[in-house]
Symmetry: C2
Subunit: 348 residues, 2 copies
């Protein structure tokens, strides 16, 4: 029986992906040279589509990487000169901090699972600040006010924003940051194996030019709508198509639906006798990856959901036996969420 993947990524494919894959095979997309005009058209559709969908200003550039994990490494190599400071609300924010240290930078961090930590300014010597818009491991989500606070407290530092599992379901004002990155198997509902790195001109001015995926190498090829290496051509094709589909549906529509679906689920959780949202302060509860604190009921609830064809994500790391995580991405329909809420309500 076909299951509905509510896992926080890889997740359910966006509902148009299978059709696009069939078209791609018919049109022999996987056989195209990455130095051909046909590829350049495909690549441009994806990069232009992303800029348009996310409302990026013209001075931003869109580069293809292979994962958000690679983005941490490239940002550490390219954009952190001496020191980075990381506001950390969970495992993924911390991994960026650890990556910066691994590449010889003096990384510092402010860390909390539940509390707001953005009042404490970054060290003066830090030249880049790392933020995670949606911490997939815990379900802690930032908002526009926090971005504004961090931006105005640090006008001279670069701000790097992890938007993995946040976009396109929530609205992010990219004018408040300098660089952002995501992988496509979360909110965009695509097969894994492609990362996207967004940078503004302040980043380009600081480029260190490390290797084939350094900013200067990426730019050299991107002006031709190409990539330094043979990339995931099929992934780039599918991304361009899905971004087009989402633009047609309307990103505001899609973001309103995200709010509607998350509100439904949080209402059920707030009134449930056995389960509660892991993030205590409603302001910071993620709209796109909802973490359920289930305690001893974890396995019971997971199995209960599975009998209804709904696959929840495991709790992250040490929370494996106590949490479940529910993705609320554009591909997850209102009907799916209404069913999910129904099934959770009946779990006693």
């Amino acid at each position: 029986m076909r299951k509905t993947f509510l896992t926080p990524g890889p997740s359910e494919l966006y509902f148009t992906v299978e059709d696009h894959l069939r078209t791609a095979l018919r049109d022999q997309i996987p056989s195209l040279s990455h130095r051909s005009k046909a590829f350049r058209v495909i690549s441009r559709q994806a990069t232009d589509g992303i800029k348009e969908l996310l409302g990026l200003s013209p001075d931003w550039q869109v580069f293809f990487l292979t994962s958000a994990t690679e983005a941490w490494e490239r940002i550490a190599q390219e954009l952190v000169i001496r020191q980075s400071h990381h506001y950390v609300h969970g495992a993924f924010g911390k991994k960026f901090y650890e990556t910066a240290k691994a590449w010889g930078k003096e990384a510092t961090l402010a860390e909390s699972v539940q509390e707001v930590i953005f009042d404490a300014p970054a060290p003066t010597d830090a030249d880049l600040i790392g933020l995670t818009y949606n911490e997939t491991s815990t379900g802690f989500q930032l908002n526009h006010d926090i971005l504004k606070t961090v931006r105005s407290a640090h006008p001279d530092k670069l701000i790097a924003l992890d938007v993995v599992s946040a976009i396109p379901g929530v609205n992010v004002d990219f004018s408040l940051v300098d660089t952002a990155y995501f992988s496509v198997q979360k909110g965009f509902g695509l097969p894994a194996g492609l990362g996207v790195w967004l940078v503004n001109e302040r980043c380009m001015a600081r480029a260190q030019s490390n290797g084939y995926h350094g900013l200067k190498s990426l730019q050299k090829f991107a002006v031709k709508n190409e990539t330094p290496e043979t990339p995931n051509v099929l992934g780039i094709y599918l991304l361009g198509k899905v971004v087009e589909d989402m633009a047609r549906r309307g990103i505001r529509q899609l973001q309103n639906e995200t709010v509607y679906k998350s509100t439904l689920l949080y209402q059920v959780l707030d009134n449930h006798p056995l389960i509660r949202p892991f993030i205590i302060n409603p302001t910071f509860r993620s709209k796109t990856t909802i973490t359920l604190a289930c305690g001893t009921q974890t396995e019971g609830l997971r199995n209960h959901l599975e009998t209804h064809g709904l696959l929840a994500g495991e709790g992250y790391g040490a929370w494996g036996g106590q949490h479940l995580r529910i993705a609320n991405f554009p591909t997850h329909s209102k009907e799916t969420f209404e069913k999910l809420c129904d099934v959770i309500e009946k779990f006693e």
Copy 2:
């Protein structure tokens, strides 16, 4: 009209790939978590399958990267201590040399397009030697004797072998080298976006542990049949399936067919009034990517082939207007090559 891609990669998909893609969608492979048991089974099928198909001894490990371009960078970071030496027969061998320099190593090179250069030993201080089994840019191919010569002249240095566009169509004795790498869109006939890095224990002993795709990080996850990042899950799935298909067909059978098909084509070229093989010495003519020196006939021949549904690859770089390149991969059937030879013979 469906074309036959004879381009040297991306190329024609292996003829079983479309079926496997359909099965993958039916089984919801792209939605699987990369931390799930189901993924570990998929990952193991690919790595075990490669070891078996290529006849790797048990002390070798198979790691997933994203491209052969990444492999150059990782080898430069992980395995070159101070100096690498590169035997270069074209653009791809040279790119590895340039990558080593870009990452601060003292790289040296011996370079020739047509001549054998392996008699000159590497500098004493070099700790790693770079070889390209099949130089895709020119169609210069090494052989078993050359590997033996280089190995016995340099028993203490690591040897890194580029097997992009060589395997599985030609037989490579991996016991004569220490590490090798390839991308899957060439001989394996898969969509681009996945690289494979093979290393023996001597490499692991030298691991520098740079970042998430450093050898120690790769190994830490590979022992669990996982990867540090969310990888190209679909690509790994398809690789495992295609390797299984090739093993069933028999790698010797597939290599004999490669010889048969390349022999057919070289006979036609040797007797052709207008076109000749670019590589002069028959000993070094590639069996897997055949470069045609066409001079002023280049565009004419390309168009002539295209009217018969056959898509040749462009000449590499500066040879763009003078060469055509023909891939001879396992997916290209004997019938396709017989047709190709026929069409070329009729070109006057």
